[in-house]
């Protein structure tokens, strides 16, 4: 096999890789979109431990502190069936810039504070709503 043949084969493999990855990702996104369910409640977890569970049908604001001095905070807002982070003291503000989430399985994450907000659809989790 000549050098140019090898090059051609590698390019063809590259194209196959690109199309397979794009196809799998697009299919996954499409399926996730088609089978999404409206959320009923959300959980707040800090470093893997659940610290609160709130119904999405009641509008409210919750402030969560990530340190004992209460200087690192995230203010979580539940409004019109969606959850978002209204304000945060973290440096990157990724959580604050995330849009409100309202469907089952969606998350807003604040990496620096170890905070995860997850939306769930099933009502049975509501027993322990704070």
């Amino acid at each position: 096999m000549t050098a140019s043949d090898t090059k051609k084969r590698l390019w063809r493999n590259d194209l196959v890789l690109i199309f397979v990855l794009l196809f799998v990702a697009a299919l996954g996104i499409l399926l996730a979109f088609l089978f999404r369910q409206e959320g009923a409640y959300c959980t707040l977890t800090q470093n893997g431990k659940e610290i609160g569970r709130y119904s999405l049908s009641v509008d409210r604001e919750i402030t969560v502190y990530a340190d004992a001095q209460k200087t690192a905070y995230n203010t979580v807002r539940i409004k019109d069936g969606g959850v978002s982070v209204l304000a945060a003291s973290c440096p990157d503000k990724i959580c604050q810039n995330s849009r409100a989430i309202r469907y089952h399985g969606e998350t807003v994450v604040c990496l620096p504070h170890g905070l995860v907000i997850t939306v769930y659809s099933d009502e049975d989790g509501l027993d322990i709503v704070v």
Binding site: D14, L21, T45, E106, L111, V116, T118
Partner: protein, 167 residues
Amino acid sequence: MKNTKKITFFALFCTLAMMLSYLEALLPPLFTAVPGIKMGLPNLVIVSVLYLYGVKAAASVSLLRLVLSFLLFGNAVTAAYSLAGAALSLLVMALVKKLSVFSTVGVSITGAVTHNLGQIVVAVFLFDSLSIGYYMLVLTLTGTLAGCVIGIAAALLHKRLAKLLRS
């Protein structure tokens, strides 16, 4: 003489990788709904070094870049994510390159996608939440596109640098 040249070029590559990651952090996020979408500019240097000098050199540059970025602008949490992403990405790229099934573009794409995968896996474990894994779908899409662009650039860079380094 040969050694001096090598050391100088390594230092240049490290600086370049570090500055590219800094530059990338300065860019506004492309799409705020999904955090973690980025061009992967430092991978341009890592892929080039991988092709010019091999795995060990690429690993050293990658590690030095992470340590320097961490010391200058980072915090411990983001360092853990970066390390997981960079390590997995480099490991897979080295393997894929060795198999020689893909060109620089394919190698760069596998690097980009596994970089995201490494970070997502760490996030899933740290937060003990599988739903974070959903991000991987969007990240695969954007990682493939970014990896493609970076791979083409790295191939061009490799071609020119190989000439320069041989002389």
